[in-house]
């Protein structure tokens, strides 16, 4: 186990790392270490032998010995949370307890090449190790001898995230936050390569939402959806946006400041909004322009852009923040705590109520199986689809904080990490 001084270099400019070495030297070293690895213990021997044999037989590139050790450790020590086996192409969700911390790690799509890794850490040691005074960064890689990257929050999503490059057939995702804290997870990746579009969908700005939807569908007992949410505008969301713009027109709004992004969903949503605004006689303006009277901000971009842009506004001194008479309105897929908490209250059209029994079942199941993950509209939509649920007619909801005490210095925020809106509420306020 390396000491602090020997801790691998961390690339802090990128959340992507390359996987195992592929050169001959590594291959030789791997074979040399295989014998030593075999002596570690019965379980480890079995795992290492299995991995080495499998690699040879299938023609996959041999792996470094430390990778084999990690792989064996990961396969024997972690618990598969979703699904009974590791399956290539199916996001892998595993949990391992280490030093009073429960690490729940999601790897998607579990194919060779870049994979998005989500890390949720909960448990008694969580605060001490990850958020306390002696907290260390969480690093993610494939082995300790290869490059590790720091797992970082993604705007609009809960958890920590990193992108790692996994090999064909088998891979190991190593999560560590210091030399004495290493938590390996085995992943079966198979041989089917990802297309560039698939890589972009899983690891790009909308990757967190994609992983969230995929795991929610699996949690509901369904299959991984064919496409990520940001790859198309759902018909129901298009209807909700059209009606939302119509409501803005009926309320006398003059300007719609439209915030969108370049995703297929964002482009389609933008077109829907513009057409609806044209019909309602509303002017569509730049969201960064100084608002005129009766201006409403309508955000139809993805989680990342929405959270980032909204947070940038409220981070400014209050007198410098734009005054929008008609507030902030969000697209349905933006019901993510980390998005709605990036602004001081918003209106969002939804085809469900978070208090519906089905929505409660989703949020509570999520809390039970994937602790640390917050419920989201996109996750619930995938859950509901997998369960064969039916959307309700869209209504307007107010997503707002509703807490009443200043948090004292040193006490931190006490809001729930599992609520649809920690420290707040999502309440129906009107029809569409």
């Amino acid at each position: 186990m390396p000491s602090d001084a020997n801790e691998p270099e961390v690339d802090r400019t990128s959340d992507t790392t390359r996987g195992r070495g592929r050169d001959q030297r590594t291959r030789l070293r791997a074979r040399a270490r295989l014998v030593a690895a075999a002596a570690v213990g019965a379980g480890l021997v079995a795992g290492a032998g299995w991995a080495a044999t499998a690699g040879d037989d299938d023609g996959a590139t041999a792996r470094p010995a430390d990778a084999l050790e990690l792989d064996a450790e990961g396969r024997s020590g972690s618990q598969q949370v979703l699904g009974e086996t590791r399956e290539p192409g199916v996001p892998s969700v595993q949990r391992m307890r280490h030093d009073d911390v429960d690490f729940t790690v999601t790897v998607a799509p579990s194919r060779p090449g870049p994979n998005l890794v989500r890390i949720d850490a909960t448990g008694a040691g969580h605060r001490r190790h990850l958020t306390g005074a002696d907290a260390r960064p969480v690093l993610v890689g494939t082995t300790e001898s290869t490059e590790l990257v720091r797992a970082v929050p993604r705007p609009g999503a809960s958890g920590l995230w990193a992108v790692v490059d996994l090999p064909e057939k088998y891979g190991t995702v190593l999560v560590t936050h210091g030399p004495r804290h290493r938590v390996p997870f085995g992943v079966d990746t198979g041989f089917e390569a990802q297309s560039d579009d698939e890589v972009a969908a899983w690891t790009g700005d909308d990757g967190a939402e994609c992983v969230t939807a995929a795991t929610a569908a699996m949690l509901a007992g369904g299959d991984v959806p064919d496409a990520c949410p940001a790859q198309a505008l759902a018909p129901g969301d298009a209807v909700a946006l059209r009606r939302t713009v119509a409501v803005l027109g009926e309320r006398g709004v003059a300007e719609v400041a439209l915030r969108s992004d370049a995703s297929p969903r964002g482009r389609a949503a933008s077109a829907v909004v513009r057409r609806a605004a044209d019909r309602a006689g509303l002017e569509v303006v730049d969201p960064d322009a100084v608002p005129g009277r009766r201006n409403a901000l309508l955000v139809v971009s993805g989680w990342t852009d929405a959270a980032r842009s909204l947070a940038a506004v409220i981070a400014r001194p209050l007198p410098e923040q734009p005054i929008r008479d008609d507030g902030t309105w969000l697209a349905p897929w933006l019901l993510s705590p980390a998005v709605v908490d990036s602004t001081a209250g918003a209106v969002v059209p939804l085809d469900f109520d978070i208090r519906d029994p089905a929505a409660q079942e989703y949020s509570q199941t999520l809390a039970r199986y994937l602790p640390g993950q917050t419920p989201t509209g996109s996750g619930y939509a995938a859950w509901r689809a997998a369960r064969g649920g039916t959307p309700s007619p869209p209504r307007l909801f107010a997503a707002s904080r509703a807490a009443f005490m200043p948090t004292m210095p040193g006490h931190g925020a006490h809001g729930s990490e599992v609520a649809w809106f920690p420290g707040g509420t999502v309440t129906p306020v009107g029809s569409l």
Binding site: I323, D325, Y369, R401, A403, F404, T407, A413, G430
Partner: protein, 664 residues
């Protein structure tokens, strides 16, 4: 499982008898009872609204084994009342009466006499688990929220199951129903301090139950608000211990306000409600008087005052802010408004004889919790009190906005300055008096105005909680800022002022301030008429109390570990005629230790009873506790309730009530 013996409304006894007979026959013969009471469901003729009484048991399949198991150990009788609300949905209140805790005469008063023999409660030939003691019952109705997984942090949610199954969640953490707990508050009763009924509300969960009216009078319905759902529940108490849902006022019934906080019920049984948060949707809102204010949305600003009829229907929405900016002190709004306002009304009390109502502004509710991106402003805590003209009771009109003056104490943070966060206000009661008090939660001070009928009432600081903090615990960090004054209530004879002090939590070098019930003697101050001399304007008065002769003095304090936020007077006394009568000579109060869990000010979830002695001192009533409990008070952190094993609950407010037939 519990007994699923269901009840029909009065007038349907014949049908009920048949049904119960069928159920009994099924038990005896071992036949599975498929449906018990389909014939029981009936609609009331109540002209007040679409109130119905339905039989929940009729929907359920009950097999013999469950029935027998129930009969061995459960005595719960369920009854549901439901209404069809304006959104087309059914809302309900489901009683879970614990027959083992009720004497036969009470059961008979509820029309349950014929049910009793079916219950496993023994107690002689007439059933009843409690002997008929001849006492008419007084109840403490507590509005409580289910404490569940959403009130926890993720760190508490780490139990990993071995396998995945359809039934994933235990009921303890499951989001459960919020409820009214009906507690026997009858001194001398064998079931004193026992929860005899829990009436659960549905289908809305996560209401965050908050306030009811301050005091109950014969003929009043209960008005109970849910902060997060923006709903006011209106409940009929006439048949206590059973409760009946009369109406629900939905968010769309009060478009210009949100986050209902408190209620004041007037002599005509109608009510005023303070809606602390802004309009449901950001932008302009048209009030009942036709005027328009721009608001920044749900949970924002400005709030409003709502006039409700006796069944909770909205009669009038009145703007709490004038059409001009409020700028005397800093009033921040997030997001900003064109016209800044401090209008977030929280406390509310009225003097109908003076045609005046008073509200106090607490804060812009949604922006108080620490923002992860940018710290919120101290100036969201409001330093304002508003007086309203209610000469036309159904059309309240804002009369004056008063900014409470700053005091001599220098706050460690801006929102610890004396006037900040005017959570509560309370009027004097006697006809000769026109004064009112206000307390500030973060400011930790008490204010007084001698005349609320003035065009612009003059408020002055008359007490700093630093004084009483030091008295209660000289070893604490008795600095008054952030002492978190809550319930503030003048005694009904205008001699004393009660204040529930949650206290300030320890933090680093700050040892925190004590938790207690404060009782101030205000007789000299009230007697000073329109010329009070008391004012806290000198540093020495911060700790020593006001120097002027008419300043309030500490009459008594009662340590209240657990964090008391709310309280209520027992304004009912049992007369020689065996009936209850209203009194102004209050000899009991109740208080609760809960604020709002998600703020981190959670309390220990206990409801306590306090005796007021002849010398007006306070003592905890140690008899008021659950049977077998070793700790004082009613602990709402418990595994089981009459409505099931839903685990801990969060009691915010309470009120003393009797059945209509038991009060004269």
């Amino acid at each position: 499982m519990r007994n699923l013996i269901s009840l029909a409304p009065r007038g349907a006894r014949g049908r009920r008898r048949l049904t119960l007979g069928a159920a009994t026959l099924a038990l005896v013969t071992g036949t599975v009872v498929a449906t018990q009471t389909g014939a029981l469901a009936s609609l009331s003729d109540d002209a007040d609204g679409p109130v119905g009484t339905s039989d929940s048991a009729g929907r359920l399949l009950v097999d013999l084994q469950d029935q027998l198991a129930d009969l061995l150990g459960d005595d719960i009788v369920e009854q549901t009342t439901s209404i069809l609300a304006g959104d087309g949905k059914e809302y309900w209140l489901k009683n879970h009466l614990d027959a083992s805790a009720l004497p036969t005469d009470v059961l008979q008063d509820l029309g349950l006499g014929e049910v009793v023999p079916q219950l496993p409660i023994g107690g002689g030939d007439s059933g009843g688990g409690v002997p008929d003691d001849g006492l008419r019952r007084e109840y403490l109705v507590v509005w409580a929220g289910d404490n569940n997984i959403l009130d926890k942090s993720g760190a508490e949610l780490t139990t990993l199951p071995k396998t995945i199954s359809p039934d994933l969640i235990g009921t303890k953490d499951l989001i459960g129903p919020d409820f009214f707990a009906v507690v026997d508050a009858t001194k001398g009763s064998d079931t004193y301090g026992q929860v005899v009924n829990t009436a659960t509300v549905g289908p809305l969960v996560e209401n965050e139950p908050h306030h009811m009216q301050y005091i109950w009078h014969k003929g009043d319905n209960i008005f109970a608000g849910g902060l997060f759902t923006d709903v006011t529940y209106v409940v009929d108490t006439s048949e206590l211990p059973k409760l009946t849902l009369k109406n629900v006022n939905l968010p769309t019934d009060t478009l210009c306000g949100s986050v209902p906080d408190a209620y004041w019920v007037t002599e005509d049984h109608k009510a005023y409600g303070t809606y602390m948060g802004g309009p449901d949707v950001p932008g302009p809102c048209v009030y009942s008087d036709g005027s328009v204010r721009l608001g920044n949305g749900f949970g924002g600003s400005p709030g409003e005052l709502v006039r409700l009829d006796e069944n909770g229907r909205t009669l009038y929405e009145a703007p709490a802010t004038p059409e001009t900016a409020e700028t005397e002190m800093r009033c921040d709004n997030i997001p900003q408004l064109q016209l800044p306002t401090c209008a977030n009304p929280h406390g509310v009390q009225a003097r109908e004889d003076l045609d005046v109502l008073v509200t106090s502004d607490y804060n812009e509710p949604r922006n108080i919790i620490l923002n992860p991106v940018a710290a919120p402003s101290s100036y969201l805590r409001r330093p304002t009190v508003r007086t309203w003209d209610i000469s036309n009771p159904d059309e309240p009109r804002l009369k004056a906005v008063s900014f409470l003056p700053d005091g001599p104490r220098v706050g460690k943070v801006a929102h610890h300055e004396e006037p900040r966060a005017a959570m509560e206000t309370t009027v004097t009661n006697l006809p000769a008096n026109k004064g009112a008090f206000a307390s500030t939660m973060q400011g930790g001070a008490i204010y007084y105005t001698p005349d609320i009928t003035a065009e612009q009432p003059e408020w002055r600081e008359v007490f700093d909680l630093t004084t009483s903090n030091k008295l209660v615990d000289p070893t604490s960090s008795f600095y008054g800022g952030g002492s978190n004054a809550g319930w503030t209530q003048t005694s009904l004879d205008d001699k004393y002022l009660y204040v529930a002090v949650v206290g300030r939590q320890p933090n680093g070098e700050d040892k925190g301030s004590p938790q207690y019930i404060l009782k101030l003697d205000i007789q000299e101050l009230v007697a000073s008429g329109t010329s009070p001399q008391c004012t806290i304007d000198d540093e020495a008065e911060i700790t020593a109390g006001g120097q002027e002769a008419d300043c309030p003095t500490v009459h008594d304090t009662l340590k209240a570990p657990g964090g008391p936020h709310w309280g209520a007077f027992d304004n009912l006394e049992l007369g020689d005629d065996g009936y209850y009568h209203e009194t102004t000579d209050v000899n009991r109060i109740a208080y609760s230790n809960y604020f709002v869990a998600r703020t981190g000010l959670n309390g220990d979830h206990r409801v306590c009873m306090v005796d007021v002695a002849d010398d007006e001192t306070l003592s905890l009533d140690t008899d008021f506790r659950q049977p077998g409990a070793v700790e004082d008070c009613i602990d709402f952190d418990r595994a089981s309730w009459p409505h099931g094993d839903w685990g801990p609950a969060k009691p915010h407010s309470m009120i003393f009530v009797t059945a209509d037939d038991d009060i004269r």
